[in-house]
């Protein structure tokens, strides 16, 4: 079975693009990733497009064919993926699967989203879900985890806020991030409350944006000189237990275990991590789920600087969802782009020196107190 490599990558800076549509955002990222790879549109044998909200917001469907046609890619299999916040990383996973199966030697993965429109409203799990009718908006589901983590482990509000401060400092070094001005612990804690104990600066912003990757087989990678390879790619769901454990995320632990087994390494081998910090508590839970620290010690981990640039294992050097922004369909692709660029030594001012192994983690959707989808992709040189 061939080993999938990263041949090209690109991220369109996340932010607000009132005059652009989803197709133009996606096509710009796709064109840039193809140019980065040195490949031509005619070389692409498989396409995957990720988007989560265009159907609901604009009545659009099967936009992937439109995006790829804009960059001259047609007459090949094209898939459209909606998998909540993991739409983009699921698209990466599917492209890896196709290349490993020998269905294609070059795959183009594009994630794009346009969210900064008046009709967005609060994101939930769907208007027919019982929990939605009872007021479960996404910030509340994470706030409930934060409350339980504080109750069980004594995690403090200042430790939650430290995640937002760290990620904003990282974003200051990332020209593609949405919010780059530093914030203080006091500012994070004093921001308007969204759902106790999470203030506005502890909740990721909506954004427009796009990201793209060109994935290739080992044979094509040798020809191009591409050195970053996919060491593991895992996609799984929650287990939807009747008594969800909110202070420990079993789905994270299970997905991470599978990914480490595939890659033949462990959390101590990671040089850089991107994770799904939709809310500050999420990043603490992911430290613990990924094995970066023991259960319950996420607060101390971030407070001690281990997750900061220059720390033991920098987490979210891009600024994460909290500061880079979270255009849902683009996020999972952008996380892999970020890791790839660190491993290629192309991450600019936020470069993790000597990074050779990195992990991108994403999760999306709520069901019965668990996530609907979790992905982990490990890259190494």
């Amino acid at each position: 079975m061939t080993i999938v490599h990263i041949a090209g990558s690109a991220v369109l800076p996340f932010g607000r693009y009132p005059a652009r549509d989803v197709v133009s955002l996606g096509a710009e990222a796709a064109r840039a990733a193809l140019a980065d790879s040195g490949l031509r549109p005619a070389d692409v044998g498989f396409g995957v497009f990720a988007n989560a909200l265009a159907g609901r917001l604009f009545g659009a469907s099967t936009l992937g064919q439109n995006v790829l046609a804009e960059v001259g890619v047609a007459g090949i299999p094209v898939l459209n993926v909606e998998n909540a916040c993991t739409s983009g990383s699921t698209a990466v996973h599917l492209a890896c699967t196709a290349i490993r199966a020998g269905e294609a030697e070059v795959a183009l993965v594009v994630g794009a989203e346009k969210m900064c429109v008046p009709q967005l409203g609060l994101i939930n799990s769907g208007e027919t879900e019982v929990d939605t009718l009872l007021g479960l908006v996404t910030p509340a589901s994470f706030a409930l985890r934060a409350q339980r983590h504080m109750h069980e482990f004594g995690t403090r509000p200042e430790q939650l806020a430290a995640v937002a401060v760290k990620n904003r400092a990282h974003a200051g070094r990332n020209p593609a991030a949405m919010f780059r001005q530093p914030v203080t612990l006091e500012e994070v804690l004093a921001a308007p409350m969204i759902a106790t104990p999470l203030t506005r600066l502890q909740c990721c912003p909506i954004a427009d944006g796009a990201a793209a990757l060109v994935l290739v087989s080992e044979r094509v990678a040798r020809r191009l000189g591409a050195t970053v390879r996919v060491a593991a790619s895992v996609l799984t769901t929650g287990t939807y237990e009747t008594a969800p454990e909110l202070a420990r995320w079993e789905t994270d632990r299970r997905a991470a275990g599978l990914a480490y087994e595939q890659a033949g390494l462990g959390p101590g081998d990671l040089h850089v991590v991107e994770c799904h910090d939709a809310f500050t508590i999420a990043e603490l839970l992911h430290y613990e789920g990924l094995g970066l620290c023991p259960p319950g010690e996420g607060g101390a981990y971030v407070e001690g600087g281990a997750a900061a640039l220059g720390g033991r294992t920098p987490v979210n050097p891009s600024g994460g969802l909290l500061s880079r922004g979270h255009p849902v369909g683009a996020t999972g692709v952008a996380q892999v782009v970020e890791i790839a660029q660190h491993l290629q030594g192309r991450a600019g001012e936020r470069q993790v020196p000597g990074a050779r192994v990195g992990l991108a983690h994403c999760m999306g959707g709520d069901k019965d107190g668990d996530t609907k989808s979790c992905t982990i992709i490990i890259l190494r040189t």
Partner: protein, 137 residues
């Protein structure tokens, strides 16, 4: 006001005294209860056994949502998970406004129906809300 919104009617039954029972099912592997009710047993794929559960338990986690409330719910409003006595179920729910200020993990609560907010059709409706047992009339 006619009662629960249709999306909730398959999950709860309102008794004459406005107490609410959970419409659960013995549908999990090893005969575990599931809520909301599932139609099929996960282990055997046979039809699941319907079970009605008295909704009394202890608060597991709670939060107060201060962002603009959906469905005409009051702002702020409180939600959380409750461990239902003797069932292994941990269920999500709204908390009664009068109980919200004094919530804490372990607090005893029961489920009652109250007129709260609107449904997907915009009409006023009943919703099940947990209230502190000490607050019960």
């Amino acid at each position: 006001m006619t009662g629960l919104p249709p999306e909730l009617a398959g999950a709860y039954r309102v008794l004459d005294d406005r107490h609410v029972v959970l419409l659960a099912a013995r549908a999990g592997a090893d005969g575990a209860l599931t809520f909301p009710r599932r139609a099929w047993n996960a282990a055997t794929l046979a039809p699941a056994e319907p079970v009605e559960v008295a909704a009394v338990g202890r608060v597991y986690s709670h939060t107060t949502v201060c962002a603009k409330a959906p469905y005409g719910l009051p702002t702020p409003y409180a939600v959380g998970y409750v461990d239902i006595d003797g069932t292994g179920l941990r269920v999500f729910g709204l908390f009664d406004q009068d109980s919200a200020a004094a919530l804490a993990p372990g607090q005893r609560v029961e489920l009652v129906a109250r007129p709260v907010g609107v449904g997907n059709d915009g009409a006023a409706c009943l919703r099940p809300v947990f209230r502190r047992l000490e607050d019960a009339a």
